[in-house]
């Protein structure tokens, strides 16, 4: 049985529907992420799970028990807040002891359990510090230790890494993964950062305008986005509008608007005569001055419009005939890559295999 069941939950603020008929089911020990742009309803949903807000319709069940009317303190759910929300008038030790005291834990057990919690997040020796004497990463760890010290059934994390710099963020991501694996508590993680979601989660629910657009494992979501929104929101993506010419057992000929015909396999939803789009990741497109003839069945001539050099990869904006622009990603250590970068104005060929894209039906 699922640990957390969200059934047809809706929340409105005046005319605005923040969460629109969302149903989810989250299993024990799962690392589940609610991903979406700001205003998509992910934080509202999180607040309803925590008990700070009540749904206008639908049910939230924890372990099969309906949470309607149960206040936050009555739920075996803890939250790590974006601002960390450490009590500034209490030391690290007192902060972590707080939930234990609330749970009426015997006094002689509090010390060892606080110590254990600090060890879990490797913050030994900081017991007597006050929150304003800690760095951002340390505050983050104290917030985690405090939320986990009495082993809730469910831990909610509201953009917990948003305030950290990139380097520290990456380290904290690795620590979060191993911490979650070690203690086996279910994590429900809210973020707008798709890379973070892909890196951390077992499953991701991509939300937009209060609805769940797609719910799946990270690799599935990245490779097989269900619609234009998901394809566009997760990673970089070329979305090429097209009509379907023919489709024989999933091998389709697509008429890309302004580009011409291409072959696409795995296009089971493509009904001849209907319209849709081909979602094509930049890293799946090859770029060269002259593409070897065997490589790609779909190929176009174009010229480099501009590029973004980001160290490990270079993202080229290539303008093909008819003025369409494609984003093409080339690893900077690619085998056979010429020592010279393509410059704006260079004539190039771009191409992709028939299984590189993903067909999105309208």
């Amino acid at each position: 049985m699922a640990l957390l069941e969200i059934r047809n939950v809706t929340r409105r603020f005046g005319d605005f529907t923040a969460v629109d008929d969302v149903s989810l089911s989250i299993g024990a020990a799962e690392f589940f992420t609610l991903l979406g742009p700001s205003g998509c309803g992910k934080t509202t949903l999180l607040r309803m799970i925590a008990g700070f807000d009540q749904p206008d319709g639908g049910q939230i069940l924890l372990d099969g028990r309906d949470m309607a009317g149960v206040p936050p303190e009555g739920r075996n759910i803890h939250t790590v807040f974006q601002s960390y929300a450490l009590f500034p008038h209490m030391t690290v030790e007192q902060n972590i002891a707080f939930p234990l005291q609330m749970a009426k834990c015997p006094d002689d057990q509090i010390k060892p359990r606080v110590r254990e919690a600090l060890e879990d997040v490797s913050l030994q020796g900081k017991e007597k510090r006050y929150p304003n004497e800690l760095s951002g990463g340390q505050k983050q760890r104290v917030a985690l230790a405090r939320a986990l010290v009495n082993r809730p059934k469910l831990l909610l994390l509201d953009e917990p890494l948003a305030a950290l710099d990139a380097k520290l963020k990456e380290r904290m991501q690795l620590e979060l993964i191993s911490l979650q694996k070690e203690i086996g508590v279910t994590f429900v993680y809210v973020t707008h950062d798709q890379e973070e979601a892909l890196a951390l989660s077992h499953r991701i629910a991509v939300m937009n305008l209060g609805r769940v657009e797609q719910l799946d494992q990270p690799a599935q979501i990245y490779s097989f986005p269900k619609n234009r929104f998901v394809a566009d929101f997760i990673g970089e993506c070329n979305i090429l509008e097209c009509g379907v010419a023919t489709n024989v057992d999933g091998v389709a000929t697509l008429e890309l608007d302004g580009l011409g015909s291409v072959q696409a396999t795995g296009a089971n939803g493509a009904t001849p005569g209907s319209r849709g789009a081909l979602a094509l990741r930049p890293e799946k497109i090859a770029i060269a001055r002259d593409l070897p003839p065997t490589d790609c069945v779909n190929r176009f001539n174009g010229k480099v419009h501009d590029y973004l050099y980001t160290g490990d990869v270079t993202l080229y904006i290539v303008e093909v005939q008819s003025g369409h622009r494609l984003e093409v990603m080339l690893p900077n250590n690619a085998v056979g890559r010429s020592s010279k970068f393509f410059e704006p104005g260079d004539a190039v060929q771009v191409g992709w295999r028939d299984d590189a894209g993903h067909y999105l039906a309208d």
Binding site: P71, T79, S83, F87, F98, M102, A147
Partner: protein, 257 residues
Amino acid sequence: MKRKPWLLWTAGSLVYLFLYLPLVIVVVYSFNDSRLNAEWVGFTLKWYDVLFHDEQMLSAAWNSLVIGLMASVVSTVLGTMAGYAMYRYDLKLLPVLVLTPIAIPEILLGVSLLIFFVMLNISLGMLSIVLAHIAFCVGFVAIVVRSRLSGMDESLVEAARDLGATQWVAFRRVTLPLIMPGIIAGALMAFTLSIDDFVITFFTAGVDSTTLPLQIYSMIKIAVTPEVNAISTLLMLLTLVLIVVATRLAPGVFRGE
């Protein structure tokens, strides 16, 4: 700005001189061995001796202290509650009710309270003064407490609830300690407002309930004696001690931290 720092210094010094010179004179002349506040004759403590044997003055001081303590305790409790309510709920009427006594002229408040007490048959004395002082102190405490609350991170209370605290426990363990500097500042403000209030006290005082300001006023109607300087010096000392105690109890209380 860098070119003429002396201009700034001079202006600043003059302002402080204007503020503090009269106080210094009062303190100095309380030790002056002369009946007149005219010229320095010699050092003496005799005015303090006179002061401590002046029955009327002593009873007035005692009255002021009792009134100040009672008024500040009650108005701190009520003002904290009002400040919290104004912060927590979107109330239209409460701020008006709480803040009006601050805004309307003291003499109006004094007269209307007098009429009110007479109508209710409350005899004028200590009780009526305490009630009157509470009426105008609550608003000051409420303002200080509310501004302290609005500077507080709301997610702290949510975090406490989230970690298992009931609404009341969250208030006691998190909200209350965090707004305590504001409450202490409010209490001190209420105490000093009560101790030196003249107008409202004048209207609501009875025969046996003379306070320090009323006593001093009745004395200087005749002449400003060094005894008045002495009692003023002691009042200043008391205020200073209160400020020091407050900053010890709650560092940053006067910086609004």
